[in-house]
């Protein structure tokens, strides 16, 4: 499609870089912004600019934050003795969304993946060890993705954390998702969910 304006074309290309946005959606977005008021577009742009200019990463857990230490780490109601290790900020938000977790987090910033050139030193692992050493941590929950890379990272972290004999190292439960049909579950998941079966009464706790 030949567009009557190069400026519009550039805006469509820019909006098309957003994840999952195709040419057609990008054009809808661009035409929407074109027809929005000056103030609306200024607000839109400044909200995005501030993402880059004003956002911090928490010095303790590496989650994003508006302040040097994030609102989770500085909340006195959270249980400082438990650290949940996650890959990215997205997972912090997903877990927060469940309202089932009251401990702190540690954002690794990725998982070990030689194919993508991500090694041990690219991740926030040293600071995790340091936190366990100095913050009186009693439990580390490994909540990395259940992929090959996630498992490799879990394995490495588990090994590194063995030096703390009193530390409990746990991982998130794996099994059949709530609402899923057994017949469509993959064999590994189904196999694990039988091997790691739990007392029926614990489901309601």
């Amino acid at each position: 499609m030949e567009l009557p304006s190069k400026i519009l074309e550039n805006a469509i290309d820019a909006l098309g870089t957003l994840p999952g946005v195709g040419k057609r959606s990008a054009m809808r977005f661009a035409l929407h912004l074109l027809q929005a008021s000056d103030a609306e577009v200024a607000d839109f742009v400044s909200a995005i600019q501030r993402l880059k200019s004003d956002i911090h990463f928490c010095s303790r857990c590496h989650c994003i934050s508006d302040t040097p230490v994030c609102s989770i780490c500085s909340n006195p109601k959270r249980n400082e003795k438990i650290i949940c290790v996650v890959e990215n900020i997205q997972e912090v938000m997903a877990i927060e969304n469940t309202q089932q977790y009251q401990g702190l987090y540690h954002v690794l910033g990725g998982v070990i993946s030689p194919i993508d050139g991500v090694g041990i030193n690219d991740l926030n692992i040293a600071s995790l060890i340091q936190r366990v050493e100095t913050e009186g941590v009693e439990e580390v929950i490994l909540a990395l993705p259940t992929t090959m890379e996630g498992d490799t990272t879990n394995f490495y972290l588990n090994k590194q954390l063995q030096r703390f004999p009193n530390l409990l190292i746990s991982t998130i439960a794996r099994g059949i998702a709530v609402g899923d049909n057994l017949e469509y579950a993959d064999e590994v998941t189904l196999g694990r969910s039988i091997a790691h079966r739990i007392p029926f009464n614990s489901l309601n706790s």
Copy 2:
């Protein structure tokens, strides 16, 4: 979901104002921008800002343009004797995309809609009449949406254009869409497509 950063929350809200973007997509967009490089975000933002600051509307057809007169109106290969009247810029691009039309356009900027407070004076109707008067136009194609408001506007324009006795006033063909099943077509469309049937041989012209 409680977010650890107000800045991120603002960016998500801003991205959520784009048409068809929900909270989840807006969050994906925001996290994508957060993880993009400074240069990428600067490009993204400037492409959107230029939409507001640098874009013109063609003084002749009211389509968007990078110059005072748009690339379609100033293209000497286009047939200046035909004007296709459309509601918005989107329709110009959709028709251009078909590569079936070589005339010029006239963007009304909406259709008559008393319920939305859009009256005759809010649309680029006077400039259309003036163009027909002064530009030696031989045909006006009414390509407005096939809605009640579109039909009302068509009717009004048709009446206004009666003052030019030699002007051909046409409208886009309505009927069964290519690839559609007759059984699922609505009655009005099917009825019209039979009443306005065309010679079979003209299909291939």
